[in-house]
Subunit: 193 residues, 2 copies
């Protein structure tokens, strides 16, 4: 007889994308993303205020990190910019690169930016009801390009793991910025293969 | 360099839970579930009309069935009953029993009934915004207990597979029926370990 895990549900707050009963919530402040925004002067100027950029509401942090297990969470990115660059998540590859992930848009308007280690970029628009596949081996970051919260549900293999290093070091090959009041995707001058 | 899969998104219709661009839609009629409802006479009486019970909108049928890959779909169960028993999905275990699944309620009101092979039953109520874990080794079926469509998003490992046999043969240990205008969960007299 296998070691059974007891089924459970969690209610997502459809107004703001949080999981009020989540047993674990990570809060990411600007200081947690130090050095990731392209405008270093704008980043430094905001560091004293150190705004909250996003929260991750982990529904199932106790699910064992075994092959075949799934975890899920919601991420809520608040609206704002550092200089001309919209608030985003740190971004990562899966340490176990063969693991995919599924995102489902809940609230607001965002972009899902994905990148291979060779530098191919793929950008998908995420709004409520949009379900996205992050295939294996693609690094991924989400960006709030709207004026309110942007939130999505994420489902991922419990043994996916995180590799933040590559993106912390080189970022993504594209930046998402506001220019003359409009969202624009531009090449990242600091990015090199 | 890994063989990259190209990322993609699909828009879920938030009014009815369908995926209008799904490349594969399964339609399940009463005749596809012959013998699964407890009231055999009621089932036989409805067989000429052979109503459509539910649809599965597969977003990603071409994702390879490899370890680490994820697929997703929506299931739309129409409202109705066979005798006193609410319309439900066939129900299955994963052939690869160690694979979990995540459900997310989109539209309407349903139940998620899960059962171990030893006969333990767990029932969760699914409404919009409710995310449920179907842990490894639990058989699972969904039931529309409302008056409109019940729809949910499912995310599952692409190598989970299906074992329909055990449930087709013995069903679940509990039945979900309407008695005197109210939903009731009763023991299944035909179910034996």
């Amino acid at each position: 007889m296998p070691e059974y895990i007891t089924p459970f549900t969690r209610q997502v707050d459809l107004q703001n994308g949080t999981i009020p009963t989540a047993p674990l919530v990570h809060k990411r402040y600007l200081s947690d993303l130090k050095g990731l925004f392209h405008d270093a002067a704008a980043e430094a100027a905001m560091m004293a205020a150190n705004p909250l950029l996003y929260e991750v509401h982990e529904a199932s942090p106790d699910i064992p990190m075994d092959d075949g297990q799934l975890r899920y969470s919601t991420t809520v990115i608040f609206p704002g910019k550092v200089g001309d660059e919209y608030f985003f998540t740190k971004g990562h590859y899966h340490a176990n690169g063969s693991r995919a992930e599924i995102y489902y848009g809940l609230v607001g308007e965002g972009l899902l930016i994905m990148q291979t280690r060779e530098g191919e970029v793929n950008i998908q628009r995420m709004t409520p009801g949009v379900a996205a596949l992050v295939p294996p081996y693609w690094g991924h970051r989400t960006i709030n390009i709207g004026t309110g919260n942007f939130a999505f549900l994420a489902v991922y293999p419990a043994d996916a793991g995180y590799d933040y290093g590559a993106i912390a070091e080189k970022g993504f090959a594209s930046l998402v910025v506001e220019r003359a009041g409009k969202m624009e995707v531009i090449p990242n001058p600091l990015w090199q293969r």
